[in-house]
Symmetry: D2
Subunit: 301 residues, 4 copies
């Protein structure tokens, strides 16, 4: 069997997990997706291997977090980023108030959880949040090689309407002096970033750049390693340890149902299945990666 056939086979074998997951409901518009959609794309630089609904666009949601980190690394450098956010896993869900004993410290948040990602948004260069957004959209277009990428307006408006927890996090960051921003502008920017639509193929292309450290004009090897390392320890929220054990590669999930996974030095992968596990990760997507990793020895451990 060739790789495309094997991807198809594994995808079909994992379909059963779709029913055990649950589509995200806290953003009402996300609930409307077709939870039967299931796709994968693997990009090796030379070839593209796909199966299922690899060409259906979905909102990136938290998969934008490593991209925000990458652009911030380019814009202001590691030192400035580390002044604002930490690097350690929080041991808590993605939307937690990582706050204890009446203190909020940069070391308690990281770029892979909401509070950290929102904080990083303030470091993206741009006179206005409109300019900042144009820059990050352009960056995603460059990373994917897909200049047609844009946002899902309905999801964006839905997030904006229901994003009170993110507003609470942003005001908390302000209150503790970590940022000094207009919360409406800041969260609007963040909601727009989360609403950028991509396909499995788009994610595979980004992941490939992170895997190969080749296209240094876009992403330096050092920055790619930063992102891969933090995806390894925190990319799947408080399911990162389980993922490290069962799949063994850096990855980032989004509540839209996507997973972007990096097989270092080898290739990039995008997966999509919108029904989530109780940690907020695509359930069937995670299981598919698990099966493939075991068959093809993708684990880096």
């Amino acid at each position: 069997m060739n790789l495309d056939t094997l991807l198809e086979k594994n995808l079909n074998d994992c379909r059963t997990y779709i029913l055990k997951g649950k589509v995200a409901s806290y953003i009402p518009e996300l609930e409307k997706v077709d939870c039967e959609k299931f796709g994968i794309c693997l990009y090796t630089g030379k070839a593209t291997h796909c199966a299922g609904d690899w060409n259906i666009p979905f909102t990136m949601q938290s998969i934008i977090k490593p991209i925000i980190l990458l652009l911030a690394l380019q814009d202001v450098g590691i030192e400035n980023i580390r002044k604002l956010v930490g690097i350690e896993a929080t041991g808590k869900p993605f939307d937690a108030f990582n706050y204890s004993d009446q203190a909020l410290k940069s070391e308690h948040i990281n770029p892979m959880v909401n509070a950290g990602a929102i904080a990083l948004c303030t470091l993206i260069k741009g006179d206005t949040y409109s300019n900042k957004f144009n820059r990050i959209l352009k960056f995603v277009q460059d990373l994917t090689g897909n200049s047609a990428l844009g946002i899902d307006e309905k999801v964006y408006l839905s997030e904006q309407k229901t994003g009170n927890k993110n507003r609470a996090l942003a005001y908390m960051l302000n209150a503790y002096g970590m940022i000094d921003e207009d919360v409406e502008n800041l969260t609007d920017f963040y909601f727009r970033c989360c609403s950028i639509k991509a396909t499995c193929k788009d994610l595979a292309h980004i992941a490939y750049i992170l895997a190969k450290h080749e296209n240094k004009g876009i992403v330096s090897a050092e920055d790619a390693r930063y992102v891969n390392a933090i995806m390894m320890t925190s990319g799947m929220y408080d399911g990162s340890g389980e993922f490290a054990l069962n799949v063994g590669i850096p990855a980032k999930s989004g509540v839209g149902g996507g997973i972007m996974a990096v097989v270092p030095n080898r290739f990039g992968i995008g997966v999509y299945s919108p029904a989530l596990d109780n940690k907020g990760n695509s359930l069937a997507g995670r299981k598919l990666l698990e099966c493939l990793s075991k068959q093809f020895n993708w684990s880096i451990f």
Copy 2:
């Protein structure tokens, strides 16, 4: 010595504590107060006994919390209040995110901490927040018998400018479905309530009503007991246990430097000294009440 002379003497004895406290700095406008001001007023229904700067107005700040609770009790009744907020001491500072294991429950907040007081503001009747504010201002005027009471515009604007933690709390309440309100309108109302100016004499008059349960047209005995009980267990923030031990009467402090204290069945007291202890309570004010309570056996224990 008569009571006025004794108040004067004790007040002078406690002046030394002023230097050990610190004026609240998180609302910049509050820092500008004259921290040497120190006053007390005791109202027995028949007589008014005063000493020091009893006639200097200061912003009520958290002393408005029991008033918000009283008006909410009248407006919607105990059951509706208990659906929204709890009654137990939180064991944490007044501005804490009383939040644990990713849950925010009504039983984790109470009307004497910021999150609970902000939640209660939504229960005050009124078509608009402007009407709600007129009602609560009128209520404070009725309780004090002082129809000239109004707000300190500078402090109000300063709170509004720096009140990000309260906005974060309000968005958190929204995010957890406990309230469903426009946060800017809600916090603006809360900031205005906190900025109402009163003197020691005004506070003594409110406390008298809570102590005597007589003027039932204004406050019912049942509502007064509710407020006295919760002030006993939570009125001095996470210094309430210490205050119960050393003074032994229900009281509510504000970061403006005021303390409103109730000697049940006997009289009401207002104290003012803006330098605070590390829990956010007026330090010299607390010490003055301690000295007087011991001399005159005010403790209800």
Copy 3:
């Protein structure tokens, strides 16, 4: 109707709450009690008013906590006690690890929660824990005027067998340098204290001494106030706020089903009903006190 008849009537009215409670199960021997037993005793110094099973002995459990505090106050004084334990409500259950951000501080525990009571045991004078126990047993006998008081051996052995959480708390106190004790000896002492048997009448006699501050040979007025104040804010665990609101008097409950309640300056009360609410307080006992407090205006607020 005279008071005894009224007590009887209220007790019968409150019997219905027995079924809504649940006998403590974490100490297996406690589960064997007859949950239908329900009694009350009120002691005014001149007269004793009783109803129901006021003469059935039960283990004091946490009701020993204020007694440990009283004896420690006499043995080492307030300053030494305050070096070891705090005074504020913890906002958490009685058996909590009151521990945050990797720190355990005296201010985070108090004499009414297990960690604080266990810490206080180390302050009781006595060469050996056997001597310490003889002293506290004698003290309870003096407070109750009942020289026949002793421990329930079966409950004591059951507690000793299952008291791992208390051992964990004691080791934690040792690990944080708050105490320096042999944990087996210390917890054995604590388990024996908790297993002292008393009746409603015994509790009413202790409470009377706390209420009247008269028998200063046994308890000084100052120490009685300390205990009453801390029972008010923390005596009913994380149900203390509710109790302050609905009953309005200092009280201490035990998971054995007893409640000792103090009506300051007036009289002492003992109640017994072993089925507990979800906070660990006697449910029917609490409701009975609520009914009586409302009828007879016992609330100190």
Copy 4:
């Protein structure tokens, strides 16, 4: 320059970090070590490359944790382990009470923190703790190929004397029904495991087995991956994220000053320098691995 010379050079360059660290003091005997000792050993299966004090034995301390996990995996299998402990990073220090909202759940602890490692000790096969210990000591001897390995009696006795936090954790595990063990026997076993002495060379040999998955008679590839994955996300305590970013390989540190590091598919490393950073990891050891990883591209990201 050959590799041995390069190791020597890097080791000397990193000596400056020794002064910035601090030898562990909570186990008194550990404080007596010579903090100038600094060594490294790298084992490729074919060759051994060493520098500095690579042949000085030190106590393994937490480096025994992955060994306990390996033996438990062999003894009872993954399913039984996962019933008892989780896999996620806790976001907290190694000795934390990973406890929240009055609950202790297996998912809140993992084999790389004290509570989890102590829990796993109960799964090691053996009629007595003496037999269990003989089995784990033999296992370490097999993994290192060093049959002379034994424990440091003084450190063991010192740990036993001061290990109250571990006793507290063990009683907590008992209290929450996660284990059902005699705490003294259990912690004694754990203290003995932590006191096993090894050199950098010994650690390099263990790490080699984890890296190459070759000697399947000793460790299966599946078990090695489990251990490597969890060392990646949690092996350096709450400094694991930083280590993933800067070094990029699975590793486990001990407060004795050792670090065992695995370069998957390539080789194993042992490092020793007893002065620790504020997370409890060898500071100079960590920096040395960082320098070498950057020069030789060891990062798996």
